[in-house]
């Protein structure tokens, strides 16, 4: 599931008033549950509005400064630069790995997708610790290096860890493309380069656009990379304002501006997408096309792939290994590490369970009892995902401190935040698997003499299980590496692997960050890669 699908869900036409409650009445329990979940998912967004309205003049004062303009410019500038660079990397990589005879193109495709599963704060930590003033390279060479902090560092890290968001949809679009279109263009006398420009590229524009929006949204909502790179973007400024204690209205107001910027981007994207919707003129599976012979161009192509994979994957992993060995040789503090790992697993597992159960209700409601109400619940379910993690966390801080103080800084709130933030990741695979169990299948089983319960147990459950597990696993993996929500909402002293990496890095203790970072990657990266390779890319 991704933001693009969210846009689709938001953009679908509303049903007629006659279908408000649907033709099939859902059980009241399910309906009630759906409404509660919808309300919960809407809570952060609503409370953000409440917090801003509470102190409207303060919020207006906080926002109506030249600083805000600077923030918008910097954040959008970074997002634009990262997006352009990500496209520039992804387009040649996709073409080389799908359409050319590049040696080892499958392996290159896998390697080039892998950086996606490295959380941005770990990526940033590894770059700072490799190229920073007190980093590994300076350490090895014994010289002072130019500063990596600021725009350069944030741009570099975010580009290298987000370009797979363009690469993945682009590769599948290239594979889906009907080769007879290119053949038709060639038969009509156009050179291969012209065919690429006039026929191939326009076909790929929607995929590039979809990936580009994901990259831009990721960059705007990213907290880890920009704060480690000390680049003053929205998210970092919100955090600083919040940390300063007295700037809470300011933080909420800035959060609101960020959300508005993201929504505008989303709306533009939805419109562009609708206008450029490409129709395949004919059905049927296209014949696979013959790979383009690279000839002598093979060498520069291989060099390009090597550089990208080298910088985005080999360098960070190598640096991680370097610090980890140093740390291990100087003795490990196993106790703290185990505690933090335990905290990470606990929070993530609870969030996965909660999100999984909520997602089953939402999916059942929207797939089996389609109505106006169920569609609203489904759409509101995306609200938590549309907000950056730090904004969700901030809104919940306000909510608990003002309305439910006993819950402030408890594990329950942290789990709640993680669950609603990643709810859509669980809803999509569960909906998809439910859609594969058409009611007719269950009716057939009923016709063969089984009771509704027996049908649910013997037909529905086995067919839906993989979707439910996949959805919950996706939430688990994302919750595991979540940084800003954990920083803001975790109980005092409740350190996770993610916050540990972040804290040690911000003090410049690169060795100490290595082991928790390595542990996080080892736990989360392999399954995350498998799940994203299957097409459900989460950001």
């Amino acid at each position: 599931m991704d933001a693009a699908a969210g846009a689709r869900a938001l953009g679908r036409r509303l049903p007629s008033a006659a279908r408000v409650f649907g033709t099939r009445r859902p059980p009241l329990v399910l309906l009630g549950l759906g409404l509660v979940i919808g309300l919960a998912a809407a809570l952060p967004g609503l409370y953000l509005v409440v917090a801003v309205l509470d102190d409207t003049s303060g919020a207006v004062d906080a926002v109506m400064t030249s600083r805000t303009l600077g923030l918008i410019t910097r954040s959008l500038g970074l997002a634009a630069a990262v997006t352009v660079a990500a496209i520039a990397i992804a387009v040649p990589l996709a073409w080389l790995t799908v359409r050319s005879d590049l040696p080892g193109r499958r392996a290159w495709a896998t390697l080039a997708t892998l950086p996606l599963v490295i959380p941005s704060y770990i990526g940033a930590y590894l770059f700072v610790s490799a190229l920073g003033p007190r980093g590994a390279l300076a350490d090895l060479l014994g010289v002072r290096l130019p500063s990596i902090y600021g725009f350069t560092g944030a741009f570099l890290v975010l580009t290298l860890f987000t370009y797979p968001l363009v690469l993945i949809p682009l590769r599948s679009a290239l594979r889906r493309m009907d080769p007879s279109l290119e053949e038709a263009a060639r038969v009509m006398g156009r050179s291969p380069a012209e065919v690429f420009r006039t026929v191939v590229l326009p076909q790929l524009t929607p995929a590039i656009g979809a990936g580009a929006v994901l990259v831009a949204l990721y960059t705007l909502s990213d907290f880890g990379a920009v704060s480690i790179m000390r680049f003053n973007s929205f998210t970092r400024d919100i955090y600083v304002a919040y940390q300063s204690g007295f700037g809470r209205t300011e933080a909420a107001a800035l959060g609101m501006v960020l959300v508005i910027v993201m929504l505008v981007l989303f709306a533009v994207y939805a419109r562009v997408r609708a206008a450029r919707a490409l129709h395949r003129t004919t059905p049927g599976t296209p014949r696979p096309s013959a790979p383009v012979q690279l000839g002598r161009w093979r060498w520069p192509a291989l060099a390009f792939c090597s550089v990208i994979v080298g910088v985005a994957l080999v360098l960070p992993v190598g640096v991680l290994g370097y610090w980890a060995t140093k740390q291990i040789s100087s003795g490990l503090e196993m106790g703290a590490l185990a505690t933090n790992a335990g905290h990470s697993l606990l929070a993530a597992a609870c969030a996965a369970l909660a999100a999984g159960l909520a997602a089953i209700a939402v999916a059942l409601l929207s797939v089996r009892y389609p109505s106006y109400v169920s569609r609203i619940v489904e759409r509101v379910g995306y609200a938590g995902y549309a907000l950056p993690g730090i904004v969700v966390a901030l809104a919940l801080v306000f909510f608990t401190t003002r309305v439910a103080l006993p819950l402030y800084q408890t594990l329950a709130v942290l789990v709640f935040a993680l669950a609603i933030h990643y709810l859509p990741l669980a809803v999509s695979p569960i909906s998809a698997s439910l859609l594969q169990v058409p009611p007719r299948l269950e009716e057939a089983a009923r016709g063969l003499g089984r009771s509704p319960m027996a049908v649910f147990r013997t037909i529905t459950t086995p067919l839906v299980t993989s979707g439910v597990l996949g959805g919950a696993a996706l939430v688990f993996l994302h919750a595991l590496k979540e940084l800003p929500a954990t920083l803001l909402l975790a109980p005092i002293g409740f350190d996770t692997l993610a916050t540990d990496v972040w804290r040690q890095t911000s003090f410049g203790f690169f060795e100490a960050s290595a082991i928790p970072a390595l542990l996080l990657l080892l736990i989360a990266a392999p399954p995350l890669y498998l799940l994203s390779a299957k097409g459900s890319v989460g950001t």
Binding site: S180, R186, T282
Partner: protein
């Protein structure tokens, strides 16, 4: 694997030829070889007197000036009708030529329509206009009617062959539909396992099949065992001209060439009607001959024949006599 081996084919300029064969026989590969979309291992391809492919020469697809209509039309979804039709006319396509091509296919005025709004038949015609717009020497059509429903298909077959004749272009169709192949082309080449089994006018290949496989592939056929000497073959339904064949042979006769009546010519044999299938415009009458062999006769829908009727049966029309083949030919 050799998909195509020994596909010798010669086309008259301005003529239409259909390449017919069962699926997997190499007919589409042949088309792609001619278009330059695939490279042959050996052999020569000459288009309009120009060698486009030989042992030491390979003209890439974009330089062959061959028009092609793809099975799925391959219309560019991001361009309108004019964009598609003008695509082969260079970067600054001549609007007049686009209009001419669209007029030829009966779609004048549709220039600005997006292609996904067109019906299947209209898409087909845009694809044809696009292939014809650059005035190619040769147009290749790969199963052009297979994506259309039956009623539309029949109409478009006639329209398309009319358009091609008007354009005066040499055309090569690929199809697996026997009726289609015979009704739209002046030459039919039947392919089997990568080779051209037989090529000729539709009448030649249908009425004078070169082999039993050919006869069976193009339609229903009855095989009567016969014995030939001195240029005549005698079988149960009479004495027929046998050409050069002598000895044990087969008489291949289409059911519509088997005539029946209450009385018949002196050469007629008596038979008993054993079955009847009525199709409206015609009927298939099953006959048991004196030898016990059951053959079919295709007659007009009337008068009705009934099982049990005793009739006279004789051959009326062309037949082909071939030396006896060992074993039955594939259906």
């Amino acid at each position: 694997m050799q998909a195509v081996d020994g596909a010798d084919l010669e086309l008259r300029a301005g003529g239409t030829c259909s390449v017919l064969g069962p699926s997997g026989c190499g007919k589409t590969t042949t088309l792609r070889l001619i278009a330059g979309l695939e490279r042959p291992d050996s052999g020569e391809i000459i288009v309009g007197g120009r060698v486009v492919s030989s042992a030491d020469r390979f003209v890439p697809a974009e330089q062959r000036k061959i028009g092609m209509v793809f099975q799925d039309y391959a219309l560019f979804p991001h361009m309108d009708v004019a964009g598609n039709v003008g695509y082969g006319l260079g970067r600054k396509p001549d609007g007049g030529r686009i209009r001419e091509a669209l007029e030829l296919v009966g779609l004048a005025g549709s220039e600005r329509r997006p292609v996904h709004e067109l019906s299947g038949g209209q898409q087909q015609r845009v694809a044809l206009a696009r292939a014809l717009a650059p005035t190619p020497d040769l147009v290749l059509l790969d199963e052009p009617f297979s994506n259309l429903d039956a009623s539309l298909r029949d109409r478009l077959r006639q329209e398309v062959s009319q358009i091609l004749r008007t354009a005066g272009v040499t055309a090569l169709f690929v199809t697996h539909d026997q009726e289609e192949a015979m009704s739209i082309a002046e030459t039919v080449a039947v392919m089997r396992d990568g080779r051209v089994e037989q090529a000729g006018t539709p009448e030649e290949v249908y009425l004078r099949p070169a082999s039993r496989w050919m006869a069976e592939f193009l339609g229903d056929i009855e095989v009567l065992p016969a014995d030939a000497h001195d240029g005549r073959a005698s079988c149960e339904l009479g004495n027929l001209p046998a050409g050069d064949v002598s000895g044990a042979c087969d008489v291949l006769v289409r059911p519509e060439s088997v005539a029946i009546g209450v009385s018949g010519p002196s050469s007629a044999a008596s038979a008993e009607v054993v079955s009847r299938r009525f199709f409206g415009h015609d009927q298939l009458v099953g006959l048991r001959l004196a030898s016990g062999q059951v053959i079919c006769s295709r007659r007009l829908g009337f008068p009705a024949w009934h099982p049990g009727d005793h009739v006279q049966a004789w051959i009326e029309g062309p037949v082909e006599v071939l030396p006896r083949e060992n074993g039955a030919a594939p259906a």
